[in-house]
């Protein structure tokens, strides 16, 4: 399984020289299964360059949306496979009792916000709510669980014979909870993340910033580390970098995070756009 970061930034893209090391595109992570199935986690602005890299391939593409906040869907209409006749793309997202996923996305992908409507897409595009239990995409097994954020938001775990990756980009498990002491089954997302080989987790705020943003749906560093420690992941990547943090600030945050993480087991780093991770031999 190959994992590549195409967008690591939260909230809004931050192009410019101050974000070249950690990246300025909003969330998009590519997971390539061993059989070639492409799983795309979120459709932030990073999906544009990923889409260009996928043009001409005929493997099925599955876009897994964690939720429908703009920074996670704003790249959808710039995803090249949508415009390839004959391409097959399935978009998965959180379930709703009132509106289909397609109808919810169409609020953004329609006039006056978009020049192109979903029905105009040349590719065969399906929109599906995630199922209640695990399901298979190629040789990947996928599980989705609702997690603590503002509005219905999913976390995903993708497992193959090579290993597993858990993706929780927008997550505030510490809201109203003592992450160090709460029983594991009562911590948002923990059952999904436990023991994965690679954990990609919200680490948007410095602790001082989080104090003023409790309830916004993201984690401060202390909570991100506490969650990661209980998840016992092989590697942890802090993700959804705050748009107010330039490379220098993120480097300082990463150094602080690593110093505090030292001795807890496993590796810890900030996710970087363009970074790649290979689990297993493929």
């Amino acid at each position: 399984m190959r994992v590549r970061f195409w967008g690591t930034r939260g909230s809004i893209p931050t192009p410019g020289p101050e974000s070249t090391r950690y990246g300025g595109n909003t969330p998009c992570v590519q997971v390539t299964c061993a059989d070639g199935t492409e799983v795309v986690l979120d459709a932030g602005s990073g999906i544009r360059t990923l889409g260009a890299a996928l043009v001409g391939r005929r493997a099925p593409v599955h876009v897994l949306l964690t939720h429908l906040h703009l920074d996670h869907i704003q790249g959808l209409l710039f995803f090249a496979p949508f415009f390839e006749t004959g391409a097959e793309v399935t978009v998965w997202g959180p379930p709703s009792r009132t509106h289909t996923l397609r109808a919810r996305l169409a609020r953004y992908l329609s006039n006056p916000l978009s020049p192109v409507e979903i029905r105009d897409l040349p590719a065969r595009v399906r929109f599906e709510p995630v199922p209640a239990g695990p399901w298979r995409l190629g040789d990947c097994e996928v599980r989705a669980v609702l997690v603590a954020h503002r509005g219905p938001t999913l976390g995903y775990r993708i497992t193959t014979a090579d290993g597993s990756v858990c993706y929780l980009p927008d997550h505030e498990p510490g809201l109203g909870a003592d992450l160090a002491r709460a029983p594991a089954e009562w911590v948002s997302g923990l059952a999904l993340a436990r023991g994965c080989d690679a954990l990609i987790h919200d680490g948007q705020y410095l602790d001082a910033e989080y104090a003023d943003r409790v309830g916004w749906g993201h984690s401060g560093l202390t909570d991100a580390l506490a969650f990661a420690e209980r998840a016992e992941a092989g590697r942890t990547f802090l993700f959804h970098h705050d748009p107010g943090h330039d490379d220098e600030a993120l480097a300082a945050l990463e150094a602080d995070a690593r110093a505090r993480w030292d001795g807890r087991g496993g590796e810890l780093a900030l996710a970087r756009e363009g970074g790649e991770l290979v689990l297993g031999s493929r």
Partner: protein
């Protein structure tokens, strides 16, 4: 979708009731009493950490509910049963065994129904003041 973790609806409900001062109990989809807060502990006389998760029969044997004559109440008349059966908040008044004997309480039950269906309920209760 929760695998061996609790559904998010229950997790958030537990986080909420653990921070409020109104007596409240959390029930899962199997009617197990999976958490109660400190305010509820103040009424029934023991903290959740001491009592732990109780099956419906265990809870009923320990605390009731009881009718005015002290007999167990039919389950179908309880706010929780109504809330689940009719998918709406429900209200009831009955007696329970508390720390200092049988007391009368009022209870509201709110079903926790998410996109995937019913996950449990929050039961909020308060002792009925004795007539002066």
């Amino acid at each position: 979708m929760a695998d061996d973790g609790q559904p998010l609806e229950l997790i958030l409900a537990r986080n909420l009731i653990s921070t409020i001062a109104v007596p409240a109990v959390l029930v899962d989809a199997d009617r197990r009493f999976v958490f109660f807060n400190d305010a509820a502990a103040g009424v029934i006389g023991a903290p959740f950490e001491e009592i732990g998760v109780l099956e419906p029969d265990e809870w009923n044997a320990k605390y009731g509910p009881l009718d005015p004559d002290g007999n167990p109440m039919p389950e179908e008349d309880l706010p929780l049963s109504i809330a689940v059966r009719e998918a709406r908040p429900a209200y009831g008044r009955f007696s329970v065994r508390a720390e200092h004997g049988v007391i009368e309480i009022e209870m509201g039950a709110v079903p926790l129904t998410g996109a995937e269906g019913y996950h449990g309920a929050i039961l909020v209760f308060w002792p009925v003041p004795e007539a002066g």
